[in-house]
C-alpha cells in the first residue's frame, strides 16, 4: 500500500513535469486574454444589472413580507392572549359574584325555612295542646257520665237484689239515697 502510494506520487511528479514541459500552462498564453477579459466584463455586467435591479429586490421584498407577516402574527397573538386573559379575569369575577350570590341565597333560604319550620312547629304544638285539652275534657265528661250511669245501674241492681232477697219492694228514693251515699264514699277511690 505504502510503496504503491509512493509510486503513484513519483508518477505524478514525473508526469506533471513532462506535461508542463510539453504544453506549459495555457493560462499564461496571452492569445485569448483580451477575449476572456471582454467576455468576463460583458457577462458580469449583465449579471450584476439583472441581479441588482431584478432578483435581489424581489427576494428582499419577499423576506420583508415574511418578517412583517411574522411580526404581525406575533402581535395579533399577543393581543389575543391579552384579550383572553381579560376575558378570563372577567369570568373569574363573574364566578366569584355567582358564588357570593349562591351563598347569600343559601343563607336566605335557610333562614326563611328555619322561620317557617319554627312557626309551623309552634302552630302544631298549640293545636296538639288544644287537642289534648279537649281529649282530657272528654275523658272527664265521660267519667262523670259513667259515674251517673253506674249509679243508675247500681240503684237498679240494688233494688232488684233487695226485692229478690226480701220480697219487699223498697222505696225507690231511699235506695237512691243509700246508693248515692255509698258512691260518694267510694267515688274518691275511682276518680
Amino acid at each position: 500500500m505504502k510503496s504503491l502510494l509512493s509510486l503513484l506520487i513519483a508518477f505524478t511528479a514525473i508526469n506533471i513535469d513532462l506535461y508542463a514541459a510539453e504544453a506549459g500552462m495555457p493560462q499564461l498564453d496571452p492569445k485569448y486574454w483580451a477575449s476572456q477579459a471582454f467576455w468576463l466584463i460583458l457577462v458580469f455586467i449583465i449579471l450584476y444589472i439583472s441581479i441588482s435591479k431584478f432578483y435581489l429586490p424581489k427576494i428582499k421584498d419577499n423576506l420583508d413580507n415574511r418578517e412583517n407577516k411574522i411580526k404581525e402574527d406575533l402581535e395579533n397573538a399577543s393581543k389575543f392572549k391579552e384579550q383572553s386573559e381579560a376575558k378570563f379575569k372577567e369570568y373569574e369575577v363573574i364566578l366569584k359574584n355567582a358564588r357570593k350570590e349562591i351563598s347569600k341565597i343559601h343563607f336566605d333560604s335557610k333562614t326563611i325555612l328555619d322561620k317557617d319550620i319554627r312557626t309551623k312547629k309552634e302552630e302544631m304544638e298549640k293545636e296538639i295542646e288544644k287537642e289534648i285539652l279537649k281529649a282530657q275534657k272528654q275523658i272527664i265528661d265521660q267519667k262523670k257520665n259513667s259515674i251517673i250511669s253506674i249509679q243508675n245501674i247500681s240503684k237498679e241492681i240494688a233494688s232488684n237484689i233487695i226485692e229478690n232477697i226480701s220480697g219487699d219492694k223498697l222505696n225507690e228514693s231511699s235506695i237512691k239515697a243509700t246508693v248515692e251515699e255509698v258512691t260518694k264514699k267510694n267515688i274518691g277511690k275511682h276518680l
Partner: protein, 244 residues
C-alpha cells in the same frame, strides 16, 4: 492527448473570429462557460424569486438562504455602511461559486482557473476599493498604511510593509482562486489518468482518490468563492471604516 492534465485549461475559439480594433475578442469556450454559469444563476434566481410564498418552496428557500448568507457576511465584516455594495458582492459571490461548480462537471471548462479572469476581478475590486476609500476619507485614507500604536522606530518599516501588503492584495486575491482551481482540477485529471493507465488491477486506488478529491474539490469550489467574497468585504471594510 486526453491524458494531458493541462489540456483541460486550453482556450479555443468557437465560431468566427471577432476582431475589434485589432484585438482578438473571439467567442471561446471560456466565454461559453461564463455565459452558462451566468445563465444558471439567472435561471436559479428567476425560479427562486418567481413565487412569493410565505412558506417558501425548495428553490425559493435556497435563493433566500444565499441572500441571507451574503447579507450576513457583509454586515458581519463591513457593517451597515457596506449595504450599497451588497448587489455587487452578491453577484461576485454567485458568479465565482457557479463558475467553480460548473467547472466541477466532467468535460466542462473552469472559468476561474484562468489567472486573467481572476486578476481582472481582483484588480477591479482593488481599484474600486481604493477609489471608495479616497472618496470617503480623502487623503486621510493614506493613514491605512500607518497603524496606530506602533513605536516610532518601527514606523517606517511597518509603513513600507503595509504599502506592500496593500498593493499585493489583487495578486493574492486572484492567485488564490486561480491556483486553487487549477491545482484541484489538475490533480483530478492526473488521478483520472492513473485509473486508465493502471487498468483494472491497480486502478481502484487512484479511482478512490479521485472520488475523495471530487468531494474535496466541491468543498474548495464553495470555500474559494466564499473566501473571495469575504476578502472583498474586508477590503471594503478597510475603505469604509477607517480604523487606524
Amino acid at each position: 492527448m486526453a491524458s494531458n492534465p493541462m489540456q483541460q485549461f486550453e482556450v479555443y475559439k468557437i465560431g468566427p473570429e471577432i476582431k475589434i480594433a485589432g484585438i482578438d475578442l473571439s467567442f471561446t469556450n471560456a466565454s461559453l462557460f461564463m455565459i452558462i454559469s451566468a445563465s444558471i444563476i439567472h435561471l436559479f434566481l428567476f425560479l427562486g424569486s418567481k413565487e412569493k410564498k410565505i412558506i417558501p418552496g425548495k428553490l425559493q428557500l435556497i435563493s433566500e438562504m444565499f441572500y441571507t448568507f451574503v447579507a450576513k457576511m457583509i454586515s458581519d465584516t463591513a457593517g451597515s455602511k457596506a449595504k450599497p455594495y451588497f448587489p455587487f458582492i452578491f453577484s461576485l459571490f454567485m458568479f465565482v461559486l457557479f463558475c467553480n461548480m460548473v467547472g466541477m462537471l466532467p468535460y466542462s471548462f473552469t472559468v476561474t482557473s484562468h489567472i486573467i479572469v481572476t486578476l481582472i476581478m481582483a484588480l477591479f475590486i482593488f481599484i474600486a476599493v481604493t477609489i471608495i476609500g479616497f472618496i470617503k476619507h480623502g487623503f486621510k485614507y493614506l493613514s491605512i498604511f500607518v497603524p496606530s500604536g506602533v513605536p516610532a522606530v518601527l514606523l517606517p518599516l511597518i509603513t513600507v510593509i503595509e504599502i506592500i501588503s496593500y498593493l499585493s492584495r489583487p495578486v493574492s486575491l486572484s492567485v488564490r482562486l486561480f491556483a486553487n482551481m487549477m491545482a484541484g482540477h489538475t490533480m483530478l485529471k492526473v488521478f483520472g489518468g492513473f485509473v486508465v493507465s493502471l487498468g483494472i488491477l491497480g486502478g481502484w486506488l487512484p479511482l478512490s482518490f479521485s472520488v475523495a478529491l471530487t468531494g474535496l474539490e466541491i468543498l474548495v469550489a464553495f470555500l474559494q468563492a466564499y473566501v473571495f467574497a469575504i476578502l472583498t468585504c474586508i477590503y471594503l471594510n478597510d475603505a469604509l471604516n477607517l480604523h487606524h
